[in-house]
């Protein structure tokens, strides 16, 4: 196939995907509109249009931007804290059999505890506000990142180690130039899952332990029966989550592990 034809085919397939996606969304909105008209109760199910109007209000009075910022900061802080502990720890454990034996059983016991179960302790230790939210989001992001990075670290091929050593690589170069890049695809996969988990956890944390953010906004609007505000909160979470994970996928393909996606 010539490059031009390839490009046309690519644009064509992107166009088809876009058209189908838009159609699916439109069908969903139509069903939603019909259902809310039939129900006739704005507290139980407001129409998409009124949710759209609420978007306008919350954007113009600046409160939506404030809530989004508060939640985003918590997610990113928690995610970064989790990643900066999980990745080095996973690679060290993949490298050392003794440390692995010491730590892995502990991890297996802590992992099944859902992030939400940590909230009481987090509030007791840190009070209300940002710190418990950082804690909860990092707990949520930690395990996917750690487990994937560990799998990446242990899947290192002996041929690559041998080849590097016979080319003059010492222990430092082995770790940085061979082990880390070899685990990188799995680290990125773990990060993408971890980011999604952190984003879900921040809402949970804010429902209970914070006084700002999208989760808090949903909670307050529920108490005052402003359901269209609840739906604004929910849809913003959906949109931003999809946007963040999509961006990370693009960065992954183009910048972090381009060799896994040869074009």
């Amino acid at each position: 196939m010539t490059p031009t034809r390839k490009l046309i085919a690519k644009i064509g397939s992107v166009g088809t995907a876009l058209a189908l996606g838009t159609a699916g969304l439109a069908i969903f909105l139509i069903i939603w509109t019909l259902a809310s008209a039939r129900l006739g109760n704005a507290v139980l199910l407001p129409s998409p249009l009124s949710v759209f109007e609420t978007y306008g209000e919350l954007i113009s009075d600046g409160s939506l931007a404030g809530d989004v910022r508060a939640s985003l900061v918590r997610v990113i802080a928690g995610f970064l804290m989790a990643a900066s502990v999980a990745v080095p720890l996973a690679l060290i454990l993949a490298y050392s059999r003794i440390l692995r034996g010491l730590v892995m059983p502990l991890i297996a016991l802590i992992r099944p505890i859902p992030p939400i179960a940590w909230i009481p302790l987090a509030i007791l230790w840190m009070g209300l506000g940002d710190p418990p939210s950082y804690f909860i989001t990092s707990v949520a992001a930690f395990f996917p990142i750690f487990l994937n990075a560990f799998a990446g670290g242990t899947s290192l091929q002996q041929e690559h180690v041998n080849a590097a050593r016979s080319l003059g690589a010492g222990p430092g170069a082995l770790l940085v130039k061979v082990m880390l890049p070899s685990a990188l695809p799995m680290i990125v996969t773990g990060s993408r899952i971890g980011l999604g988990q952190a984003w879900m956890a921040v809402v949970t944390a804010e429902l209970i332990a914070a006084q700002s953010g999208l989760g808090y906004m949903i909670q307050v609007s529920r108490l005052s029966l402003e359901t269209s505000r609840v739906l604004v909160g929910m849809t913003v979470i959906g949109l931003l989550g999809a946007l963040m994970i999509g961006t990370l996928s693009i960065i992954e393909r183009r910048v972090i592990v381009p060799w896994n996606y040869p074009r």
Partner: protein, 272 residues
């Protein structure tokens, strides 16, 4: 400019009985846990500078294990290994290694794979060295490609270029063409001979292909299985540079028949 010139200054290997062998093992035994028979049992072998030696034998005869001892990847259970008269302590950039497959770093471009060794050794202009070697193996065009986008034959040529980039006096090759189809394999053998003619490194070439061993090597060391020992050695007399026509000569066919007889007996032994 060529990198490995050391082999050229050495006398012709067939006449050089009294120079220090480039590689030597003495009574080397390698046993694996949980196996009764040693993979390599009391093997002694000397390889002269610039010599091209093929280790030939059925699977399980310990030829790859012996190569791993030469490379420093595996310490012998008993016995000694020497490189240039010095005891071997581990892998070093003095021995370039070409693996059977899947050894290129997938996270580096072809050029960076080849430049990896020169970078580790702190040589001047690693990318320049890499470009030159890619040119030697005829792959300048794909310097910036990812290894995964290359064919098997191209990947092995990159593997050879990468092993040569540290200018090693020794090239260890572990069934490097074993995973290639017959046509590519024949082309790669000729390619290897022409590179070897230019650079003259000492080569230890592990294979289970009898014709490949005779076509390439100055000396064919036939190994036997269970336990892994040297069964017989053959000096291969054909002039260099060699062309594939040498395979039709009566002496070639005679060698092939003789070696095939030994291998058949050995292969049956480990088969039963």
């Amino acid at each position: 400019m060529l990198h490995v010139v050391e082999g050229r200054q050495q006398p012709d290997p067939t006449e050089s009985q009294d120079v220090t062998p480039r590689l030597r093992v003495e009574g080397v035994t390698v046993s694996f846990d949980g196996r009764q028979q040693a993979a390599v049992d009391d093997v002694s072998l000397s390889i002269a500078p610039g010599e091209f030696v093929a280790l030939l034998g059925p699977s399980g005869c310990g030829k790859s294990t012996l190569l791993n001892v030469f490379a420093g990847f595996r310490a012998p259970s008993s016995g000694k290994a020497f490189l240039d008269g010095q005891p071997l302590t581990g892998p070093s950039a003095k021995c370039g290694v070409v693996f059977q497959k899947h050894s290129l770093f997938p996270w580096m471009t072809v050029l960076e794979n080849v430049a990896f060794g020169p970078r580790r050794l702190g040589l001047q202009d690693p990318r320049g060295i890499a470009r030159e070697l890619l040119d030697t193996v005829g792959l300048s065009d794909v310097a910036n490609a990812w290894p995964s986008s290359l064919s098997g034959g191209m990947q092995q040529r990159v593997g050879i270029a990468r092993a040569l980039a540290t200018r090693p006096p020794v090239l260890l090759m572990d069934e490097p063409f074993g995973a290639l189809d017959a046509q590519t394999r024949a082309l790669m053998q000729e390619e290897l001979l022409s590179i070897w003619d230019k650079l003259r490194p000492t080569v230890v070439f592990v294979t289970h292909d009898i014709e490949e061993a005779i076509f390439l090597a100055d000396r064919v060391v036939v190994m036997q299985a269970l336990p892994g020992r040297i069964a017989r050695e053959f000096q291969i007399p054909f002039d260099r540079p060699r062309s594939p026509e040498v395979m039709d000569e009566p002496a070639f066919i005679e060698h092939r028949r003789e070696i095939a007889d030994i291998i058949r007996v050995e292969a049956r032994k480990s088969f039963l």
